[in-house]
């Protein structure tokens, strides 16, 4: 029962991207007479700047992660944490990303890239990682920028609430990926 619902949802999901690619311009051109081609090109220009802008962050994070793994330090850390993680069914491979996600968007993108490179986009680790990445935000950065912009220095319960939500999001990512894709 659940399997068939999940199956049909996953089967439907493969139409989402093509439908968006056609549906959004369709609405824009028929209903609103938007110059879709020109607007598209204007938006697409940002793709280059963003991709180039993340290069220094990716170099910094990927080098550090690569060194950490090659030295054997990651294995030591994961062996140390494995009993606890196993107990709650949390894959140790996804721990670095879960810890990095609230700290740095570019850093966690680097870690996700690393998961995809190492295990392949088809692996459960990559899927859990991508779910974690998509379902959470860089809490520290957002709080600093948003509160900083209006001069609020006393943030009250904002950080506690944000980090608790991040932890629940990471656990939920593992839970739902194992349930639906594992």
């Amino acid at each position: 029962m659940i399997e068939s619902i999940v199956g049909s949802l996953n089967a439907g999901a493969k139409y989402i991207i093509p439908l968006l690619l056609v549906g959004i311009p369709f609405y824009a051109i028929t209903v609103k007479k938007v110059k879709v081609y020109e607007v598209f090109v204007e938006g697409a220009k940002d793709g280059f700047t963003i991709a180039v802008r993340i290069i220094p962050y990716l170099v910094a994070i990927l080098v550090a992660v690569g060194m950490f793994r090659a030295s054997g330090a990651l294995d030591l850390l994961l062996n140390f944490l494995a009993p606890v993680l196993n107990f709650i069914g949390f894959p140790p491979e996804n721990l670095p990303l879960a810890l990095m996600r609230p700290l740095s968007g570019s850093g966690s993108l680097g870690l996700l890239t690393d998961l995809v490179n190492e295990y392949g986009a088809d692996s459960l680790y990559a899927k859990i990682g991508a779910t974690m990445f998509g379902s959470s935000e860089t809490t520290f950065y957002v709080l600093a920028v948003y509160f900083g912009s209006v001069g609020v220095t006393r943030s009250r319960h904002a950080l506690v609430a944000g980090l608790t939500a991040d932890a629940v999001g990471a656990l939920a990512a593992v839970f739902f990926c194992k349930l639906l894709l594992g």
């Binding site: 999940v6 996953n10 989402i16 991207i17 968006l20 690619l21 609405y27 609103k32 879709v36 607007v39 598209f40 090109v41 204007e42 938006g43 697409a44 940002d46 793709g47 280059f48 290069i55 910094a60 080098v63 690569g66 060194m67 950490f68 090659a70 030295s71 054997g72 990095m100 609230p102 700290l103 850093g107 996700l112 986009a121 899927k127 991508a130 779910t131 974690m132 998509g134 379902s135 959470s136 935000e137 948003y146 509160f147 912009s149 609020v152 220095t153 006393r154 009250r156 319960h157 904002a158 506690v160 609430a161 944000g162 608790t164 939500a165 991040d166 999001g169 739902f176 990926c177 894709l181």
Partner: protein
Amino acid sequence: MLNYIWFGMMFISVVVGIFTGNIDAVTEAAINMAKVAVEISIGLIGIMALWLGIMKIAEASGLIRIIARGLKPITVRLFPDVPADHPAIGSIVLNMAANLLGLGNAATPLGLKAMEELQELNPKKDTATNAMVMFLAINTSSVQLIVPATVVALMGATASQIFLTTILATTASTITAIIIVKILEKTKRFSVENAS
């Protein structure tokens, strides 16, 4: 914080590498990964451009504004201290709508505008209001309908599989955020008077 994490990882790597005899592998990994980082970024350009172009069309066609109107009944309940017709609500709703559609670039300017308007209602300018904390908690728990462009670019065809899991996980974290904020805002420890 990131400074310590980043430096700590490299420092530990070198120390562990020396003890385990893996130091050659550490050097090789550092040089190799620097190269890989650039190759990945360059590879992302085309897919990022495609996604951002489509999202710009959604913005220009007013699709975001339509979603904004649909979400209004919810925002009234989440931000009881903010008058329903206050401009802050409009900016909050637009920011959430931009987040829903994965429009990070559009979301930030709208979010900062919302903060400015919430600050007008704030009697104690250096202290966060309940509405501000609620807004940021929802924002950082990232209500998202669409998987981010970077993830689509990285995951390729597999990206469609994580649509559902992402929505479920983000729903769990957002509901948690709302409940925690509603509970904590009433406690003495986080009251406006005791704020730190």
